[in-house]
C-alpha cells in the first residue's frame, strides 16, 4: 500500500508541470512544493516529539546511574538486565503471561473461527441478532464490567485462578475476533466449498481442508492482535488474580516497582523492555508479513 501511494505521488509530481495552465503554473508548483515541505517537516516533528519518551527507556536500561531524564549513559552496563532477569521478577511472570494470554488467545481463535464460519456461510435465523450483538459488544467498555466480574468470580469460586481469568479474557477478545474472522471468510468464494460438498465432505471437513488453508494469514493476524492486546492488558489480571506467583508480567511490573519507595529506574527500564519485547517482535512480524497495521486500519474503518 505504501509503495503504490509513493508511486502515485511521484507520478502526479511528474505530470502536473505539463498541465496547460500557464498563468497559475508557477504559483501552483510553488504551493505544491510548500505543501510537500510542510508534510515532511510535520511528520518528522511529530516523530521527534513522540520518540523522546521511547529514548528514555532505551538509554536508562543500559545506564548504571539511570535517573528520570533522557541522557546518554555515563556508565554503560548490562547490570540492570542482570538484576531483573531472575525467576521471581522476570521468568515466572513472563511464563504466566504466556500461559494466560496464549491460552486465552488460542481459545478466542478456535471459537471465533467456528463462529466466523457459521456467520459467513449459513443463512440461519440466529445470524442477524448474533452479528449485531457481536458488533455492539466490541464497543462495550470492558473496564466497566470488572467490578461485576469480580463479584461473579467470587460467587463462582473462580477468583485467583488462571483458568477462570483465561476464560474471561477469551470472552473479551471474542467479539472483535469473530467480526474480523467473518470478514476474512466472506472473501473466500463459496464455489470452492461446493466442489467439496458434491464430493460428500461435511461442513466441518470443508472448513478444515478448504477454508482454513486459505484464510490462514487472516487467522494469524487475528491471533497476534488478540495476543498482543491481552499481553498488554493490566486491569483484568490485576483485579482477578491475587497471588504473586500467578501474576502475569503486565501486573508484576507494577507490583514490583511500586512496593519500594526508591525505584531503581535503570531496572524499571530494563524490565519494561523485556516485557514489551514479545509484542514488538510479534508486531514487526505482522506488519512485515501482511502490511498488518494498514490492513487492520481497513478492517475497522467501516
Amino acid at each position: 500500500m505504501t509503495a503504490t501511494n509513493a508511486g502515485q505521488t511521484a507520478q502526479t509530481a511528474r505530470v502536473s508541470p505539463t498541465r496547460p495552465r500557464p498563468r497559475t503554473h508557477t504559483t501552483h508548483v510553488r504551493g505544491r512544493l510548500a505543501a510537500l515541505i510542510l508534510a515532511n517537516v510535520g511528520v518528522l516533528a511529530v516523530a521527534a516529539i513522540f520518540v523522546i519518551p521511547l529514548l528514555w527507556v532505551l538509554l536508562a536500561s543500559v545506564n548504571r546511574t539511570a535517573g528520570l531524564t533522557v541522557s546518554l549513559p555515563d556508565h554503560w552496563t548490562l547490570d540492570n538486565f542482570r538484576a531483573v532477569l531472575t525467576p521471581e521478577t522476570t521468568y515466572r511472570p513472563m511464563l504466566n503471561g504466556v500461559i494466560l494470554c496464549g491460552g486465552a488467545a488460542l481459545l478466542t481463535i478456535i471459537c471465533a473461527t467456528l463462529a466466523g464460519y457459521a456467520l459467513s456461510r449459513f443463512k440461519t435465523r440466529y445470524k442477524r441478532p448474533f452479528l449485531l450483538t457481536i458488533l455492539f459488544s466490541t464497543g462495550l467498555p470492558i473496564t466497566a464490567i470488572m467490578v461485576p466480574v469480580y463479584g461473579l468470580f467470587v460467587q463462582l469460586n473462580l477468583i485467583d485462578t488462571i483458568s477462570g481469568t483465561m476464560l474471561f479474557m477469551a470472552a473479551t477478545g471474542l467479539p472483535f475476533a469473530i467480526w474480523l474472522m467473518k470478514n476474512f471468510m466472506d472473501s473466500v468464494p463459496v464455489t470452492l466449498e461446493e466442489a467439496a460438498w458434491t464430493d460428500g465432505a461435511s461442513r466441518m471437513k470443508t472448513l478444515w481442508y478448504v477454508i482454513l488453508p486459505l484464510v490462514w494469514p487472516g487467522i494469524s493476524v487475528v491471533a497476534i492482535f488478540t495476543f498482543v492486546g491481552m499481553w498488554g492488558n493490566f486491569f483484568v489480571p490485576f483485579v482477578l488474580l491475587l497471588s504473586p506467583d500467578k501474576l502475569p508480567a503486565s501486573v508484576s511490573i507494577y507490583t514490583f516497582f511500586s512496593q519500594y519507595g526508591q525505584v531503581a529506574y535503570g531496572q524499571l527500564a530494563a524490565y519494561s523492555l523485556l516485557y514489551s519485547g514479545p509484542v514488538v517482535i510479534l508486531f514487526l512480524f505482522l506488519s512485515r508479513k501482511l502490511g498488518g497495521a494498514f490492513a487492520f486500519g481497513g478492517a475497522v474503518k467501516g
Binding site: T2, S16, P53, W56, L68, F136, V147, Y254, G297
Partner: protein, 296 residues
C-alpha cells in the same frame, strides 16, 4: 419451533452449532456479569462487613449516593475532560493530520514517522505509563529541556495531572486514528483532489470541501471507537498518578475501582459500573448505526 419438521430442526441445530462455543463464552463471561451487575447495583454487596455475608436489596440507594457524592461529580467531569482533550481533540486531530501529511511525504519519512507513532501504540499501557511518568516527573526530561531553555519548571504530574495523563493518552492512541484515516484516504482517488487543485482550490479549501466530506463516515466511526477506548483507560492513569494527587486525575474507572476494591463497596462500585456501561452502550449503538452494517 415445535411444529418444524425434524429435518429442518436438525439443520437449524447443525448450522447453529459452530456458534455454540462462542455463544457460551460470551453468555457466561460477558453478558453474565452485565446481568449480575444489574442486580448487584441495587444491593449493599460489599467485600467485608454485613454486606459481604448477606447482601440485601437497597433500591436506588447506590444511585442516590452517587448523585449526591462530590467524588462522583469530580470523576464525571474529569472523564469528560480526559475524553475531550485526549481522544476527540488530540488523537483524532493529530491522527488525521499525520495521515494527510504522510500521503505527501517522502517514503523514508513516512516509514520513520509510522514506526515511531505505531511503536508508541504497540507498547503495553503500563510501560507507556512509566515512560510518561519519567518524562513529566519533577526531575524528568521535560523539565530538563525547559530549564535548558531558561523556562520555569514544575512537577507536571502534581500541578496539571489530568492534562499530563491526557497527553500520555494522545501519545499512546494517535496511531489508531492515523491508521483508520490512512486507510480511508487511500480510497480517495488522487485525481479528484488534482482536479480541484487545477481549478484553483487552496489546500485548506480542498481539505474542508472535498477530503473531509469524503471520509466523514470514517471520522464518525473513528470518533466513536476512540471515545469508547478512552472511557475504558485505567492502567495508564493508574501507573502515572493513581488518580491523584488527591482525586485530581480520578476518572470514572479509577473512582469505580477505589470505591469497589479499596473501600469495599461492591454494590456502589457496580452502580458506577452500570452508568459507565450505559454511556458505552449509547456510544456503541450510535457506532452501529454509523456502520450501517449489512448483516443479511
Amino acid at each position: 419451533m415445535t411444529t418444524a419438521p425434524p429435518a429442518k430442526l436438525k439443520r437449524a441445530v447443525g448450522q447453529g452449532a459452530p456458534l455454540g462455543p462462542a455463544a457460551v463464552l460470551l453468555l457466561v463471561f460477558l453478558f453474565g456479569p452485565i446481568l449480575w451487575s444489574v442486580y448487584a447495583a441495587f444491593t449493599n454487596a460489599s467485600l467485608s462487613g454485613a454486606g459481604a455475608a448477606a447482601s440485601h436489596f437497597v433500591g436506588l440507594a447506590n444511585f442516590k449516593k452517587a448523585f449526591a457524592a462530590d467524588g462522583f461529580y469530580n470523576s464525571v467531569v474529569l472523564t469528560l475532560v480526559f475524553t475531550l482533550i485526549s481522544a476527540i481533540i488530540g488523537q483524532n486531530a493529530l491522527g488525521l493530520m499525520l495521515a494527510l501529511w504522510m500521503r505527501k511525504s517522502l517514503r523514508f519519512v513516512r516509514a520513520l514517522g509510522g514506526a515511531v507513532v505505531i511503536g508508541a501504540w504497540v507498547l503495553p499501557e503500563v510501560v507507556a505509563g512509566y515512560l510518561w511518568y519519567a518524562f513529566l516527573a519533577k526531575d524528568g526530561s521535560l523539565n530538563h529541556v525547559l530549564s535548558g531553555l531558561g523556562l520555569g519548571t514544575q512537577d507536571w504530574l502534581f500541578s496539571l495531572p489530568i492534562v499530563a495523563v491526557s497527553i500520555a493518552n494522545i501519545w499512546r492512541g494517535t496511531a489508531f486514528s492515523m491508521l483508520v484515516y490512512s486507510a480511508a484516504l487511500s480510497d480517495i482517488p488522487l485525481e479528484i483532489e488534482e482536479a480541484a487543485q487545477v481549478d484553483g482550490a487552496s489546500g485548506w479549501r480542498r481539505l474542508v470541501s472535498i477530503t473531509l466530506p469524503m471520509i466523514r463516515r470514517s471520522i464518525m466511526t473513528n470518533l466513536m471507537l476512540i471515545t469508547l477506548q478512552t472511557l475504558s483507560v485505567f492502567g495508564l492513569i493508574f501507573t502515572m498518578t493513581r488518580g491523584g494527587p488527591g482525586t485530581k486525575s480520578q476518572t470514572l474507572p479509577l473512582y469505580m475501582y477505589e470505591q469497589a476494591f479499596s473501600f469495599g463497596n461492591l454494590g456502589y462500585g457496580t452502580a458506577i459500573a452500570i452508568m459507565l456501561l450505559l454511556v458505552g452502550a449509547v456510544f456503541s449503538l450510535i457506532y452501529l448505526r454509523a456502520l450501517d452494517v449489512d448483516t443479511r
